[in-house]
């Protein structure tokens, strides 16, 4: 019995060890990234690691509002890439940021469908029943969802489509609803439309119909003194990183349109 107990304790101790050997603090960061950066952020990290093979950068994707909350509750993120500027500003206002927000990309909202040719479709057309269920991200905490709501209001079709709306938890789930065909149309990020594993067509929602998706990142308090976090932050503003972002349909700050 005694030996059994001791082996149990030893097993527990072994299991409590982290999976990988803890590398030097500076060589490992975790990034909180808006869900529209799926694929793009992975590409950025892969390209960064080609010149910094010793560095480990992990990403957690989610709705920007959710990530903000997690950081404020002490989640161990060094960098926060939001899909807008207001959430990073809130982090600053609440004294939980380790720097000032830096715009890194301008996102675009598109209407995407797997089954309907969307290329000539206008936002106002979505009131037609043939567009079936329309997926948008939850406006409460996802910037793309908030913009989708604004655009539908601006087109004057909010009341007409409201009963047909389904809400994704973040913009990536919203895209999945549309890509799986469960929603006929998805109002999603152009970056996700470009990276879609499923064939579909899309039309841009005119930027005049919603607040801009001026995407900013900010160092968190935890990341403020972290050399790797700072280095990656400056890498994201470098020409190779901007080329990657441009490839996913993002416009770039200071580059004109």
């Amino acid at each position: 019995m005694k030996r059994f107990l001791i082996s149990c304790l030893l097993a527990c101790a072994a299991l409590l060890q982290p999976w990988s050997k803890a590398s030097a603090e500076d060589q490992h960061i975790t990034i909180a990234a808006a869900a529209d950066l799926h694929d793009a952020m992975d590409k950025l990290i892969a390209s960064y690691r080609r010149n910094h093979p010793g560095a480990t950068l992990e990403v957690v994707y989610g709705a920007s509002g959710m990530l903000l909350n997690q950081i404020e509750q002490g989640a161990p993120f060094e960098l926060f890439f939001s899909a807008d500027s207001s959430y990073p500003q809130q982090l600053v206002a609440h004294g939980k940021a380790g720097g000032t927000p830096v715009p890194y990309a301008m996102g675009h909202l598109v209407m995407w469908s797997a089954s309907i040719d969307m290329s000539q479709v206008k936002v106002a057309d979505l009131s037609q029943q043939r567009f079936g269920r329309i997926a948008i991200a939850n406006p409460q905490h996802a910037p793309y969802g908030k913009r989708a709501e604004q655009a539908l209001h601006a087109a004057g079709v909010w009341d007409a489509v409201q009963a047909r709306l389904v809400y994704g938890e973040n913009i990536a789930q919203t895209a999945q609803f549309a890509q799986s065909g469960n929603a006929t149309v998805g109002l999603i990020a152009e970056s996700l439309a470009k990276a879609s594993p499923v064939k579909g067509s899309y039309a841009l929602v005119p930027a005049t119909m919603h607040e801009p998706l001026k995407q900013s990142f900010v160092l968190t308090q935890r990341g403020a003194g972290n050399a790797l976090a700072k280095d990656f932050a400056s890498y994201v503003q470098s020409p190779p990183a901007r080329a990657i972002l441009a490839g996913y349909g993002f416009s770039l700050p200071g580059a004109g349109h």
């Binding site: 509002g65 939850n138 905490h141 065909g181």
Partner: protein
């Protein structure tokens, strides 16, 4: 204290849990009865299948349902061919998904209760001339009553607490699929901790009351074990 949307979510959740519990009791009784009395070689596979949601992550169930029910999925095609509207993002869809998800919580207590009743009372009733339906309704069911109550309470509470499946196939539609657990999640994500707290407290009290009621409703001789 509650916003109109919170009340809507609360009402929706109670409606969902009630419908699911009633349907599961109707479906669960014959199923549990069959599991108890059959000697079929399918008994063990079926019992394992019924218990599957106990160990399966809800996201797995939600994922497969979304794929199956989608316009490209097998069930989705069948439903479309039958001229019915699709299941994902609807209240009906949630009912079906919740029934799958809560199935073991209803069937297992019933199964245990029917087993505890045993063959003997039924044989006695039979020798007194009671037919199979009569035996079930006037002998087995009354004797298994504590199990029925347990099944109803567990099925109800488990459906109220469902989150993973709803997140995958619900679409968070107000009045349709935005149940209490989703609403709490949204409040937390938006940093509205007060509202999240009020709703969570509600669920906590309801859950505790349900379990308390379950033990109080049991006859004394069952309450001991």
């Amino acid at each position: 204290m509650f916003s109109a949307q919170d009340l809507q979510a609360l009402w929706l959740t109670l409606r969902l849990a009630s419908v699911v519990t009633l349907l599961l009791l109707l479906l669960g009784c014959p199923l549990a009865w069959w599991l108890t009395h059959t000697s079929s070689r399918w008994r063990r596979p079926v019992a394992a299948l019924v218990a599957l949601p106990l160990v399966l992550p809800p996201t797995v169930l939600g994922f497969y349902l979304l794929m199956l029910w989608g316009p490209e999925g097998a069930v989705g095609r069948l439903i479309a061919a039958a001229g019915l509207s699709a299941l994902p993002f609807t209240f009906r869809g949630l009912v079906v998904a919740s029934m799958l998800y809560s199935l073991p919580f209803v069937v297992q207590p019933l199964h245990n209760a029917f087993e505890a009743v045993g063959e003997r009372p039924l044989e006695l009733a039979s020798s007194l001339g009671a037919g199979p339906w009569d035996r079930f309704f006037t002998v087995a069911l009354p004797l298994a009553w504590p199990g029925v109550i347990t099944a109803a309470v567990l099925g109800f509470a488990h459906t109220v607490g469902e989150f993973g499946v709803v997140l995958m196939i619900g679409g968070n539609i107000p009045g349709q699929t935005r149940v209490l657990s989703m609403r709490i999640y949204d409040h937390v994500q938006a940093g509205e901790y007060h509202q999240a707290n009020v709703l969570s407290l509600c669920l906590l009290v309801v859950s505790f009351a349900a379990l308390l009621a379950m033990t109080l409703l049991r006859p004394r001789r069952y309450a001991r074990d």
